[in-house]
Symmetry: C2
Subunit: 121 residues, 2 copies
């Protein structure tokens, strides 16, 4: 049983946080059977935090938690902050299998999505 955690920055604007949670819900139906559940967590300004999101998934029975940074560039948040938050969860649940995959902006397929949007005119 694998759990996917979509990690976003978090915003003071609650509608933006809700947009990320809604994205996680839409992902959930398409992520099966590889992932039994998908949820959202935030680096700051919104709940749950990254450690809370990971620990919750582990305590709900996930054999593996996959952390996916919903970020466009490899800035400080992706390079330093998110790994630190993930480490807090790993310290809280030392036996848990927690993996962080590459951030959204790193995917070559983003180019195709941009071209589709551009050609929509």
């Amino acid at each position: 049983m694998k759990s996917l955690l979509l990690v976003a920055h978090g915003s003071r604007r609650e509608a933006s946080n809700e947009e990320v949670r809604e994205l996680a819900r839409r992902l959930a139906s398409r992520a099966q059977p590889a992932f039994s559940d998908v949820s959202a967590a935030f680096l700051e300004l919104a709940e749950p935090s990254i450690p809370d999101g990971i620990v919750r998934a582990v305590d709900n029975g996930a054999d593996q938690v996959v952390v996916l940074p919903y970020f466009l560039s490899a800035g400080r948040h992706v390079v330093t902050d998110i790994p630190e938050e993930v480490q807090k969860a790993q310290s809280a649940r030392p036996d848990a299998d927690i993996r962080t995959v590459s951030y959204l902006g790193s995917a070559e397929a983003v180019l195709d999505v941009l071209l589709e949007l551009a050609n929509g005119t």
Copy 2:
């Protein structure tokens, strides 16, 4: 002759701005023949500005400039700030055909990219 302008927020971290410019260069080779050129512009903190990027494309002979917001959520930047910047360019070049397409995060295909990343583990 159409020109594509990839619009990002802009960062104090120059490597992040350069990452966007590099993305525009990579897009350029794949965007032909629909777009004769692809470049990057920034809402703040980096050059060129959005109006400068649009005006440059128009003055270089573009019949149409397509503005593509490289943003994940429909926050204030996408809803208010970018349209205001585009309007400045439209005022400077009243006859230019300038269109803004939907932001990256609005594309359904982003779900597929996220699933690919998640399944890469």
